[in-house]
């Protein structure tokens, strides 16, 4: 089941990347990042069957980082929304050179 799991993970990760590149809503882009993290987790779990439980430990770490990232990222989005009244990334070009 390793090859199937890795293929599924690749498909999910690619869907996440395409979502990040094509969507403009900042919240949906964040959700696409979560989808990519999930795809990576699937890879870890699939390999942990063959290389020991350390892969599952890494999944726990990835989940922690995802939770921290969601908290900070959504706080940034709320903060941006207060200033701009929008979460459209077309309007957020403060750091553009």
């Amino acid at each position: 089941m390793l090859a199937e799991s890795l293929a599924l993970s690749a498909v999910l990760f690619t869907i996440g990347v395409i979502g990040v590149l094509t969507r403009r809503n900042a919240i949906i882009i964040f959700m696409c990042v979560e989808l990519m993290l999930n795809a990576v987790n699937l890879t870890f779990v699939a390999f942990s069957r063959y290389y020991g439980a350390a892969g599952q430990v890494f999944v726990v770490f990835v989940m922690t980082v995802a939770a921290a990232e969601a908290a900070v990222g959504l706080a940034i989005i709320i903060s941006i929304f207060r200033h701009r009244q929008s979460v459209d990334l077309q309007n957020i070009n403060l750091l553009k050179g």
Partner: protein
């Protein structure tokens, strides 16, 4: 690949949840409304949890449902509700022709790369003995087989995780606070 045989029951459920997760992910990136997209993503995460259980990672499956579907997605939906973004709007649209084309090219290239990598085979001297996960599970239980490496080999990383969470909490509080003085 390891020459393993799986029952038809197992194969059916593996492919079923795989197809469900891909279909939900596709529905997720194509929906206009953020709430609909979030619910499709929850569906993807549930089917991934089922796949984790099929891959002998029951504890991770439970964590997936509790943390991802239960906590993180609720936070996302909470922000969507707070900012009143629940209805489909023009900002949910794609960015035009060129980025979609670039996304398609990058997507196909990455898919090809990772598919090539997934054709790899396990190095025999790295791999744990066959049925290792099942024996670990029988010896230490589903939680214990994850907890033992977590609190032995990866103890330092685990402790640093708490610092990361503390920083994230502090950052969220600082970012979420109103800057103007008369707000409070």
């Amino acid at each position: 690949m390891m020459g393993e045989h799986y029952s038809l029951f197992y194969m059916f459920h593996f492919y079923f949840f795989g197809v469900v997760s891909i279909a939900s992910a596709l529905a997720f990136v194509t929906r206009k409304s953020p709430v609909t997209a979030a619910l499709w993503l929850v569906n993807t995460m549930f089917s991934l949890a089922a796949l984790y259980v099929l891959l002998d990672a029951q504890f991770i499956g439970v964590m997936q449902v509790l943390v991802y579907a239960g906590a993180i997605m609720v936070v996302f939906l909470f922000v969507v509700m707070l900012l009143n973004l629940g209805h489909p709007s023009e900002i949910a649209d794609g960015r035009g022709k060129l980025p979609v084309f670039v996304a398609a090219v990058i997507g196909i290239a990455m898919l090809a790369e990772i598919m090539t990598i997934s054709r790899t085979h396990i190095e025999a001297h790295f791999a744990v003995p066959k049925g290792y996960a099942v024996t670990q599970m029988a010896q230490y239980g589903a939680v214990g087989s994850v907890a033992r490496p977590l609190f032995n080999e990866y103890l330092l990383a685990f402790e640093l995780t708490s610092v990361l969470l503390l920083v994230a909490i502090a950052g969220a509080v600082v970012l979420g606070r109103r800057k103007d003085a008369n707000a409070r």
